[in-house]
């Protein structure tokens, strides 16, 4: 997607909203990425950087959703596989390309994604509560909502799931999940 397109979307979104509301609408920046042909987004402040997938060292005896660890400029990064985390079955034959680096509770994490697509400005009013269909698939507390974007002509719409990475990667949640998986084994 090129810049012009993005601008169009932003424009359309903001004009749409201005019809109902004349006030200045707060916007946030989100990073959109793809995971098995679906679009997800994170708040830009929640991530530190995006890198290509490096050589990852697997950790024996660790939960399946932990891909392993790697070295990023002298720091050890734990890599998490969201598809394994949510028990998705993967249809996309291509292997993931990017890792999103973030820091949660003083731990550095990498999240494997197929590819990072773009950075968008969206008005907060465009973030809606996630429909049940989605929150069934991913636990509701890990979803901040869905971003609904409409094209200029009002037809082609996009739905992007906003993930709450901070919650998803919090120590407590990962550790309990890890022990559950271990117990099942």
């Amino acid at each position: 997607m090129n810049d012009e397109n993005i601008q169009n979307i932003i424009h359309s979104v903001s004009t749409n909203n201005n019809k109902n509301n004349k006030e200045i609408i707060e916007q946030i920046q989100i990073v959109v990425f793809e995971l098995d042909n679906e679009e997800y987004a994170l708040k830009i402040n929640d991530l530190r950087e995006i890198i290509n997938i490096p050589n990852i060292t697997p950790i024996p005896n660790s939960p399946e959703f932990i891909r392993g660890i790697f070295n990023l400029r002298g720091k050890i990064i734990v890599t998490v596989d969201l598809e394994k985390r949510f028990n998705f079955s993967r249809n996309n034959k291509l292997s993931p390309k990017h890792i999103i680096i973030t820091e949660v509770e003083n731990n550095d994490f990498g999240v494997v994604v197929d590819r990072v697509k773009e950075v968008l400005h969206v008005p907060v009013t465009n973030i809606k509560t996630a429909p049940e269909l989605i929150s069934n698939k991913i636990h509701a507390e890990y979803i901040d909502g869905v971003v609904v974007l409409e094209g200029k002509d009002g037809t082609s719409s996009r739905i992007i799931i906003m993930l709450n990475l901070m919650k998803l990667l919090s120590d407590k949640d990962l550790l309990t999940l890890g022990s559950v998986i271990k117990a099942n084994n």
């Binding site: 060292t57 950790i59 932990i66 271990k182």
Partner: protein
């Protein structure tokens, strides 16, 4: 001008000076006591103590006034005058009034902590005036203070200061936030970084010349010109590493310095006469170890005062260097550990059963000079259930915190030895053997399938080839006869759930690394030895703490991350 910029410097300066005042007060008090006992005292030395006290107080006064802490400035001003008057014979100082001065130093420390944490100083006004009155100094009031009559009414303060307070000051556990690095070490760091820059330029120029001069594009040529540069880089980097380590070192004296005061207070409180002899203050250890050392040492020393020494005695605190580690020795010439009572207490609390207790008691009987009894200690001395309960410790003769010490020593990979009684007269000696630095260990790099792992040298005996014919299966465990001993073999592939891609059971020999823990030995089956390496240990991120069998991770020269096997956990 933002004065807060200087707060850190101010705090460190005040800390240093308060420490100095404490040391000199202790010395002064000792000399005064000798004087009163009729001993010959070097008057010159006595005067020097007060000279130095006055100088420290003066420095404190100026710096706190500069920083705008007027109450601290006033109290230190009063103290300065007191010290001045005493050294000139204008005021008299007694053992009792020494106590008041000691307290005022504590109040200054308290105030400093307040400044550090909350940015405000404590209220020291009425206290300052009390001292002023007590010694009859004519200190000018820097700020408007309450009238003397008001102070007299303020009985609560008087009462409070009349009763000496002996709580263990929390600065015992304060971390070292600043390290004083000798200029020489900084210079050598500077030199090294300059050399690294020069080496970088050399590499760049090699690269440039190769690109420009394409006739030069011979593989051999490039390699031969790169080789010396890389070798030199290796040398520089290990020197740099060493220098950085060096600058992290702090002398043991930095934490030892707080103990004389602590011992004095504890001894006064329990009416004991205790001499603390400190040696080896200049032994240097890594800052991170020194930081953690303060608390366990405090426990051991308090134990020595509370339970070791009866009425009069000597406590020795010593730091020394051994081959590859540093040792801290705490020895008292008191009663010694009452092992029998310890065993009985453990029996009473059902930590051990009657059979065990009889076994222990008879072994104590047989060997009264019971030197180093690991099982006894593991079960009893370091058992938190035994040592945290006060009523038990009263009878056991060893106090709170031995489990804390054990924990600390384990945590940093050291060990602890106890000898009690030390000789026929009793006594207890704790020796803490500590690594000099935490970060760097020597490991053996091995390959299992395609993954590389590191095994710490500390647990390795050697590596051996084992003929398949020498391996026997006993109760699902493979055993091999090595040097006449039956040694169990551990399949790392199985333990680490590494899928076996190309099974090499056809091989006639298998490669094993022999590891040991205590008296136990085992062989870890590996695929390939890569070599030895000095690595920097990085702890595993907390989410991976559940992954059993690893003690940490490290980054290799090629940038790859590998796991360090906790070999002894497999035993």
């Amino acid at each position: 001008m933002d004065i807060n910029k200087f707060k850190d410097i101010f705090i460190s300066e005040v800390e240093d000076n308060l420490q100095k005042i404490n040391e000199n007060l202790l010395l002064g008090e000792k000399l005064l006591k000798q004087k009163q006992a009729g001993d010959q005292v070097d008057e010159k030395k006595y005067r020097e103590v007060f000279d130095s006290l006055m100088r420290s107080a003066h420095t404190l006064k100026s710096s706190s006034a500069t920083m705008g802490y007027t109450k601290m400035a006033f109290l230190t001003h009063v103290l300065e005058d007191v010290f001045d008057n005493v050294r000139n014979g204008i005021s008299k100082i007694s053992v009792d009034t020494f106590e008041v001065i000691f307290e005022s130093v504590d109040m200054l420390s308290e105030s400093l902590r307040n400044i550090k944490d909350n940015n405000i100083e404590s209220d020291l006004e009425s206290y300052s005036l009390r001292i002023k009155e007590l010694f009859g100094t004519k200190t000018d009031e820097m700020v408007k203070v309450k009238k003397v009559q008001d102070i007299k009414k303020d009985e609560s303060i008087k009462k409070e200061t009349d009763i000496p307070v002996y709580k263990i000051k929390s600065n015992e556990t304060e971390n070292i936030s600043h390290v004083k690095v000798p200029i020489k070490r900084l210079d050598s760091l500077m030199d090294l970084s300059e050399e690294l820059l020069a080496e970088k330029m050399r590499l760049n120029s090699i690269l440039d010349s190769k690109i420009e001069n394409s006739s030069f594009l011979n593989k051999e040529d490039i390699l031969s010109s790169l080789k010396p540069a890389v070798e030199h880089l290796n040398l520089l980097i290990s020197n740099l590493q060493y220098s950085v380590m060096q600058s992290r070192l702090v002398p043991a004296g930095q934490i030892f310095a707080r103990f004389p005061r602590m011992i004095r207070d504890l001894a006064n409180k329990s009416n004991k006469e205790i001499d603390l002899i400190i040696t080896g203050e200049d032994i240097e250890m890594d800052r991170s170890i020194i930081d953690k050392l303060a608390e366990p040492l405090g426990h051991l020393l308090r134990n020595a005062v509370d339970h070791g020494i009866q009425e009069k005695g000597i406590i020795r605190l010593e730091a020394k260097h051994s081959k590859d580690h540093a040792s801290i020795i705490i020895e008292d010439n008191g009663f010694g550990i009452r092992w029998k009572e310890l065993v009985n207490a453990a029996l009473k609390r059902e930590i051990i059963n009657a059979e065990k207790s009889n076994e222990y008691l008879s072994s104590i009987e047989m060997n009264p000079q019971s030197i180093w009894q690991p099982i006894l200690e593991k079960d009893l001395l370091y058992n938190p259930r035994l040592s945290t309960n006060d009523s038990v410790t009263e009878t056991s003769g060893r106090g709170v915190g031995t489990s804390v010490i054990k924990e600390f020593v384990d945590q940093i990979g050291g060990d602890i030895e106890v000898v009690s009684p030390v000789n026929n007269n009793g006594g207890t000696r704790f020796t803490l053997n500590l690594p000099l630095t935490l970060a760097i260990i020597k490991v053996l790099l091995v390959k299992i399938n395609n993954s590389t792992f590191a095994i710490p040298f500390s647990s390795i005996i050697r590596s051996v080839y084992i003929d398949n014919s020498d391996i026997k299966s006993v109760a699902e465990t493979d055993m091999a006869v090595i040097d006449g001993n039956d040694i169990p073999l551990i399949s790392l592939k199985k333990i680490l759930s590494i899928s076996v891609e190309n099974s090499n059971t056809q091989d006639k020999k298998r490669l094993a690394v022999l590891i040991e823990k205590g008296n136990e030995t085992a062989g870890l089956i590996i695929d390939k030895l890569i070599g030895e390496e000095e690595i920097i240990v990085r702890p595993l991120p907390s989410v991976l703490k559940g992954a059993k069998g690893f003690s940490g991770s490290t980054i290799l020269g090629d940038g790859d991350t590998i796991l360090i096997l906790d070999a002894t956990s497999f035993l």
